[in-house]
Symmetry: C2
Subunit: 421 residues, 2 copies
Amino acid sequence: MALVVQKYGGSSLESPERIRSVAERIVATKKKGHDVVVVCSAMGDTTDELLDLAAAVNPIPPAREMDMLLTAGERISNALVAMAIESYGAKAQSFTGSQAGVITTERHGNARIVDVTPERVREALDEGKICLVAGFQGVNRESRDVTTLGRGGSDTTAVALAAALNADVCEIYSDVDGVYTADPRIVPNAKKLEKLSFEEMLELAAVGSKILVLRSVEYARAFNVPIRVRSSYSNDPGTLVAGSMEDIPVEEATLTGVATDTSEAKVTILGIPDTPGEAAKVFRVLADNEINIDMVLQNVSSLEDNRTDITFTCPRADGPRAMELLKRLQAEGVCENLLYDDQIGKVSLVGAGMKSHPGVTAVFCEALRDVGVNIELISTSEIRISVLLREADVKVATKAIHEAFELGGDEEATVYAGTGR
Amino acid sequence: MALVVQKYGGSSLESPERIRSVAERIVATKKKGHDVVVVCSAMGDTTDELLDLAAAVNPIPPAREMDMLLTAGERISNALVAMAIESYGAKAQSFTGSQAGVITTERHGNARIVDVTPERVREALDEGKICLVAGFQGVNRESRDVTTLGRGGSDTTAVALAAALNADVCEIYSDVDGVYTADPRIVPNAKKLEKLSFEEMLELAAVGSKILVLRSVEYARAFNVPIRVRSSYSNDPGTLVAGSMEDIPVEEATLTGVATDTSEAKVTILGIPDTPGEAAKVFRVLADNEINIDMVLQNVSSLEDNRTDITFTCPRADGPRAMELLKRLQAEGVCENLLYDDQIGKVSLVGAGMKSHPGVTAVFCEALRDVGVNIELISTSEIRISVLLREADVKVATKAIHEAFELGGDEEATVYAGTGR
């Protein structure tokens, strides 16, 4: 008998029929003799509908009230799933984030979990009940106010509960049946992975894979909670994310997959003095305005005037704001000129095997050369190579790299859509 | 400076535009220098939509989960009203029933308020905030589960909060601008009352007036909370419900109004032994099945066989179930025959003046005689006369009685629709 935490995304709960189908799956897990804790996102488009209502009554809605509003969505879906479970003859009890002991910081809209004290959930499990916990929400201990966890919050709730309850596995259900070697919409023979390490999943999430949200993987790694990525539409075992890369024997370490990202923009700062503190000025201004920087490149400075160029990427949505801030620095004489480019894309290769396979970078670059794709910027980690390219080149580059490292399978992959929060 | 509790029904909150209009009214009250606590029902049809979803996943949904589900509706409307208030420059904070200290019994779906401990609301008021409290919901102290208060629950929340906060007045807003001497849809010259006593309002609510729910008036009377019935569509001062009938000087006591009710059915039990305990058997079975009895009449027993007939009315919705239960008693020989009639209606005249005006019953019956309406059953209280008639006769009877006691005004009344919960 195991303790299983299951998380269902919004698209898995978009209608009463889907809710009944999810309930059937939950009851089947319970009937196998396992204890089951379920975390549900809000149904289908509920969150977007609530956001629209909020925008209609106040264009700049206060964050505390926004959290009070949005958390209603998960209460609704959890109560409905509990009802559906009872109709299949099992006992169920739903809990709000607060009732389940999900304690957070007080930052509304993007709170962090600081503690999980699921005594009531444990009691209900001991009474043989299936427990439903509203995802994405918690409570601040000091103010006793309801908070939300931001994007991917329900995944994080599920992993945090799994850690606190010492669960055997945390199953994340969506309309995707696992982690693939590449986006099957781009690479038709992309292969589903059976297993990958936390570090590899972290790198994939960081460079554009939408399957799991970065912070839920970080949480799982910190508390060593195995995650299984599964589809609520099939019985496929999905992909297991577990274990440290360090524990993979060298000869078994492989290349995991190719991730793509077209959500960033590139900013180039020309003619900035190559003296200590000048680059810091730039990044301090961006940090103070909560603009996240991804790749950074600083050129060798010119010998003539001891000035250099800095290129960085940031979320495309923040691009115009970043340029505004930098133009003010330019006006103060910090740099000579600014360039902005939002027609870029990033392709990354991730895998623990990179450490033990010499020549990966060479093969990577040759593959792009062979399809005539120009590299604008390269950045690497121990188990990742990322390159910046023209956005129009992303698909052909992804296919070429996937092919060059023989990551594909013999069959066509199932094409997936987006996932819930 | 006064402390005002305002309650808004679902139809007053059915769209973002209506929510903004309600928020404007709330802020205007605050700007007059008053402290304001607001209780909101769920928006428009939200509750019905949630009930439909529940029915679609489980035809017999568990009561605890139903409460978890339904309370989401009031969280949504309260958060939205709080946001709208902030857009008008005032400070607002929303509270769930639990956060506002609304403690209830554990009976899901129809819990009773046992205590209100609104410390957090009081603190927020002291900080100059407008407080929004989700109506219709509370928390059970022992199980810490969310409960709902049943029909009219938001009115009861408002009155209970007003009592706990020692508010000066509890304003109940809906699409009706006050309490009328009769339903203006039936009697075009029905007159809006400026004021009536708790007892008169209780009698009106008990005999079919839908304006205030009986238990909220009972609560207001017990804690002496003045209620003002107002429309969220106008600035009319509405009707004040306050004070005891006992305090009205005899010469000022008047007849309040005529109420109609076509929601009941009539059951007649023929040939039941006129010995102690036989009628008790009947009413025990009905009580055990939670069927509420309204009017009851027992005939003089016949001399031949010492048997009698009993007639009673009950909600039409419970009629078929009542008949099923009684047929079982008939099979056991408790009675000889059963009659069922759901084409009946009830018309009542209420008013503290009845005590001091002799001949009210005579005028009442003469008025019905003059329009050819037959009375099937009469029941009275100190300040009320109710008669059972054919349903088809209800309108003509109501008009005749309203006319006979000269209750009408010179103008046509505004026609109203239904109210929120």
